[in-house]
Amino acid sequence: MLQIFSSVMDGLLIGLVYGLAAIGLTLIFGVMDVVNLAHGSIIALGMFFLYLFFGAGLHPYLSLVPVAILGFFFGVIVYLIAVKRIISGPPLMSLLSTFSVSMIIIGIGTALWSTSPYNINFKVETYNILGYTVTSARLIAAVAAVLVTFGLYFFLYRTVLGKAVRAVANNREAAELMGIPSQQILAISFGIGTMLAMLSGALIATLFPFTILSGGVYELKSFVASVLGGLGNPTGALLGGIILGLIEGSVAPFIQISWTNVIEFVIFVLILLFFPTGLFGGRK
């Protein structure tokens, strides 16, 4: 019983972080129909940015602030260089273009840091609640993921800029006719998506060791979570992430761990077949 409770709790906590990563992916898709294949390498870059600030003496949680700012500007730059000109082209072009960005990031990252694992080594408290052991790092990562999501919602629904983002996502031409500068909005959206990916990467880095190639795993999880929740739907992505975490946690006591991926992707295919717009509906 305790084992199942522990597994479910662990799954929930890590699922929130997966969810945050998935929101970054789904936001970009929702606003501009670009499947960002650089998502994984951007997550990995977030891990290394955190590592650099941490190495410079900043506390890992304080480092999240500069990582977020860097992430935003990095996203805007990637948008201007690699996405802007082809955004109206066929989908394959943006796939190839973002894939190239991914290869560039991984190439530079491998040259700088090699592919060996890095660690954020800081003091982690351990709490024991009725036999369930949880570390402060996991709790804080989950809480941070929730806070960032609230922040995003506040931005999208309560600010003029956020409303403009939603308007562009809904209908770019109509938004332009209303005088919204869509190119700037798209750049900002790509920046925010990238920022969320980097933040989730940074949070993961406080939990697990990482290499420049670690992003791939979380990119896959982001895809699954986004599709579970309905592509383009940020709340759906967060819930998708939680579901993913819960599946990982709750099937573990009953099967060999190596089978977790099989179950995850079987569910993924079933969702695609029976709920093509995800469990919580597509773009909102």
Binding site: L2, Q3, S6, S7, D10, I14, S116, P117, N119, N121, V124, T126, N128, T133, T135, A137, L207, F208, P209, F210, T211, S214, V217, E248, G249, A252, P253, Q256, I257, S258, T260, N261
Partner: protein, 398 residues
């Protein structure tokens, strides 16, 4: 004038007769994925060559043979190994062979050495399967994978005869799975109750689900692991989750020095290692562990890793076999290797003579290291076997 020339010629002929050489051939992965390990191993072999040639060569049947090494780059590729070992034998006419680094490449080289009936000493190759094919000319220096964790289990039994429940958790790779499977069989055989036997995927970073299983199983000790990255992460999360294990033994990761970066999470973790510079074996032949380490440091400016020690040991074993045989004839050297039973700086060496597992290493035992604290600093201590240890095992650790 003419007499002078004749004299010179005579001296020359005598000189050649004096300086006999024995040629030893091998390939080295100077490029490719085994580069670092393989070059380390070569450094050990070269050091042996310098050491023995510095003493005038190997004394065999009243003559002294200088050692000549012949080696090529195999690019860490199996095809190259097969071509090059054929070439070493048929064109370069080497007398004996030393294996390349890694089990995979050694398996290929073994086929060639067997075809030509050349003796090959295998170092850097821990696989059991090479020695289950009925080969007659291949001899293993390393402890085979099937015994990687068995001495760990022995040590646990000696430390706490009352302990029953152990968990075996391993990385889903060929090597780790083979090691874990034989560890489980052995543990059962000597009376442990294996309450959890489970693999985890290669790229695992979140050990949460596994750790929950370990807790639920009620295991009191853990053996397993895989390679560096997963092992380090596993150890860290076991510590953070305060899993009440009395002993944690993991493959590979804790044996490397970077493991100390884990801080408190490294404390108490045990790992099997082929060899450590601090071992205290009483050798019957060749340098002592301390002398070898000193020589190596002088030559290469750093402390030798076990791969380098394995390289030196391969040379030393060939040398001893030639000395025992009193000849460099393959059949006689083979007979000497079959009879060999001795301890060198690398540990005990004895080969299987059973036709079903001929050449498999039986004598050499893994040493167990444990991360302990000395003056507040983490240090690697050797805690097993008792004839090599530098410190007592800390048990239980939590």
């Amino acid at each position: 004038m003419k007499k002078g020339w004749l004299l010179l010629l005579l001296v020359g002929i005598l000189g050649i007769a004096q300086a006999q050489t024995v040629k030893i051939g091998l390939t080295v992965s100077k490029t490719g994925k085994y580069n670092v390990e393989s070059v380390n191993q070569l450094n050990g072999i070269k050091l042996w060559q310098q050491w023995i040639n510095g003493q005038g060569g190997i004394p065999v049947g009243g003559k002294k043979y200088k050692v000549e090494l012949k080696y090529y780059d195999d690019e860490s590729k199996a095809e190259r190994v097969q071509q090059l070992y054929s070439r070493l034998i048929s064109q370069d006419k080497v007398d004996f062979l030393i294996s390349p680094y890694s089990s995979g490449l050694t398996a290929k080289a073994a086929i060639i050495s067997e075809q030509y009936g050349k003796v090959m000493v295998a170092t850097g190759a821990a696989s059991d399967s090479i020695f289950k094919l009925g080969y007659e000319n291949v001899y293993q220096i390393y402890t085979p994978a099937s015994r990687y964790l068995t001495s760990t289990v022995d040590m646990l039994k000696a430390a706490d005869p009352s302990l029953k429940k152990i968990a075996v958790v391993y990385e889903d790779s060929k090597f780790a799975k083979a090691v874990a499977t034989s560890a489980r069989e052995y543990a059962k055989k000597i009376g442990f109750d294996v309450v959890l036997f489970e693999g985890y995927p290669k790229s695992t970073t979140d050990f949460g689900p596994i750790i929950n299983k370990i807790k639920a199983s009620g295991a009191e000790a853990l053996v397993g692991g895989g390679h560096y990255a997963d092992g380090a992460t596993f150890a860290r999360q076991l510590f953070e989750q305060k899993v009440p294990l009395k002993m944690i033994a993991l493959l590979v990761a804790p044996a490397s020095d970077e493991f100390a970066e884990l801080g408190d999470a490294a404390y108490g973790v045990v790992a099997p290692s082929q060899w450590e510079p601090l071992v205290k074996y009483q050798q019957n032949c060749g340098p002592s562990p301390a002398q070898f380490t000193e020589m190596y440091k002088k030559a290469y400016g750093k402390v030798p890793a076990y791969r380098a020690a394995g390289g030196f040991a391969a040379g030393l074993i060939l040398q001893k076999a030639m000395m025992d045989a009193g000849s460099i004839d393959s059949a006689k050297v083979r007979a000497a290797l079959d009879k060999m039973d001795l301890t060198i700086f690398f540990g005990k060496i004895k080969f299987s003579t059973d036709p079903k597992s001929h050449g498999l290493q039986l004598g050499h035992e893994m040493v167990q290291i444990q991360w302990q604290k000395k003056d507040g600093k983490l240090v690697k201590e050797i805690v097993w076997p008792t004839n090599a240890k530098t410190s007592d095992l800390i048990y239980p650790i939590r």
